[in-house]
Symmetry: C2
Subunit: 328 residues, 2 copies
DNA sequence: CTGAAAGCGCTAACAC
DNA sequence: GTGTTAGCGCTTTCAG
């Protein structure tokens, strides 16, 4: 910047004014500065700028997900980045791999860079550790699930209700042995889905058989193994619900074609399988967009009490979930 | 930091030494500082730190992809962030939507934050604009395709050879009308795939019929429409190659089950379709991991001439690509 | 082992 | 319209 000022024969302050626009600078002076900037390939140093403007925004937000490679999270990331860009911010991204200590590390690295806000898909466990960051002004919004011990905005879906309804329909179609494969119930989202499953069984007067419940599954192969185990039982399930997309892929790898099946999350090609797969669809783009807008509202001074926004899900009946059970 | 120093009854310098470790500080003093840090919830301000250490690294890298929601790019992002974390860096992410001017904007926002390096999936068009950033010390590595006008490391696959071989096999199986749906050939990756297709046709003595080539397709529905058009021709194709995953999904939505089909990029459930889908698989995680390691090597002083790493692809024959043509 | 002074690149606040 | 001064929060350098 000093070099540019020298080159243009002005002070650093004038360069600053030209580079940032807005302030009144004589057109001829401005032109000289612009020429010098171009000649020297100067670019404003936002790090230094931010230091001086400590109470202004950094125009950086952070996004923390389980794993960006997960299609649901990828859609969330894409939509969040889109909003950030529209709002003139850049976005840091991190994957917690559902590990709270890793999440902590990444969040610390983010806040040290003075992010204006954080969009969080929280791992299991207490999020008290975020209090200092909050106190220091960092805004936080949760997506997909609320964070235990943290009173902030959250954008979620009614996991409990959606699964309960799906399982109710399976039972109504004559299934009495309904299996469930899910990730750890310690993660709120999956805990709710599991509760929805159990509630529907209870409402239908069906017993909850532990042998038909796969918990804590974290990958396709794990889900496949769990399903294979269930199918080998003396009285195997006649219908199955997969708690998320990854587990659905695993289950589909081993499930016979005629087996009733419902998956949480819609996915590509679901309608091209035989039979086409019935899913509980949520809209990750809508979720993330909503969350990002909430975050920016907070960043720009919205101080209303934290709210939880519940977005709709949609049961898309394509065939696999409508196969009749033995008691139809 | 001043507050912490006051609380602990030491100077700011001592706080700095304790917070950053390494330097020799009396254990008792250090303990007092640690207590003060905890009490006040102090966290080092990396923005200020970085300003003073202008010639040190920012420990921020930037990743620029077409769109994170694309499964291939999502896998790249996940793998790159993994390496970044291992190397103690955080990662900014941006989507260009294959638009050069948008890419430019995002890259500028990244370099203004003094990123140490950039992993780039370059959009079509000249990347000369990156020269100043390079001169200023920002390291750059391209993934999936090289950037026109920029002499930097790149990690790619042999798109040309992989498609040529796949189409050669289709021709060898008796197909004479082979269709192709691809994104714009102005993007290097897709240009090479298209050339591979044309080269295989030529080698098999087959004419290249423009009516069987869908170019510049950017979404599933666009691919579906293109394929529908081809199928309505008086002499429709008997085999089809889709240039990427997104287009494959679109094509599969309208393609009759008995139609020969090969897709570039492996995808979930490819083996569960009827017939199972033959694909040209690349390994996005390996690509990105390699690229990230290359980037960090550059950041840490590797000054060897830029090299292009070609990673292998694998033709996975699952059935859809082995269906015989009318002249088998 | 600890502290004081200076300055990273920029801009707020105030002169002129 | 433009320049000057000071200081953002930290660390480098040098002194004790």
């Amino acid at each position: 910047m000093k070099d540019v000022a020298a080159e243009a024969g002005v002070s650093a302050m004038t360069v600053s004014r030209v580079v940032n626009g807005g302030a009144a600078v004589a057109p001829r002076t401005a032109a000289r500065v612009v020429a010098a900037v171009r000649k020297l390939g100067y670019q404003r140093d936002d790090v230094a700028r931010q230091l001086r403007r400590t109470h202004e925004l950094s125009q950086i937000i952070g996004l923390l997900v389980d794993d960006v490679a997960d299609p649901f999270m990828a859609a969330v990331a894409s939509a969040a980045e889109d909003v950030a860009r529209q709002r003139g911010s850049v976005m840091l991204i991190g994957s917690s791999r559902a590990d709270l200590s890793r999440e902590r590390e990444v969040v610390a690295a983010f806040t040290a860079r003075r992010v204006d806000g954080l969009i969080l898909v929280p791992a299991a466990g207490s999020h008290r550790f975020l209090r200092p960051a909050q106190a220091q002004g960092t805004k936080i919004v949760c997506v997909d699930r609320a964070a235990p011990g943290l009173n902030v905005d959250a954008v979620v879906v009614d996991n409990f209700g959606a699964v309960r309804e799906a399982v109710r329909r399976l039972a109504a179609r004559g299934h009495r042995r309904i299996g469930y494969v899910g990730d750890t119930p310690r993660i709120r989202t999956f805990g709710e889905r599991r509760r929805g499953y159990l509630a529907a069984l209870a409402a239908a007067g069906l017993p909850a058989d532990p042998a038909l419940i796969g918990d804590g599954l974290r990958s396709g192969p794990q889900a496949a193994a769990a399903v294979t185990g269930m199918l080998a039982l003396p009285d195997p399930p006649t219908a199955l619900l997969a708690g998320n997309e990854i587990l659905a892929f695993g289950a589909l790898a081993v499930l016979p074609a005629g087996h009733a099946f419902v998956a949480f999350d819609d996915f590509a090609l679901a309608d091209r399988l035989t039979p086409p797969v019935t899913v509980i669809a949520q809209d990750p783009v809508a979720l993330a967009t909503r969350a990002a807008h909430l975050l920016f509202a907070r960043i720009h001074g919205d101080v209303a009490p934290p709210r939880t926004v519940v977005m709709p899900t949609r049961l898309i009946e394509r065939g696999s979930g409508e196969l009749p059970g033995p008691f139809a």
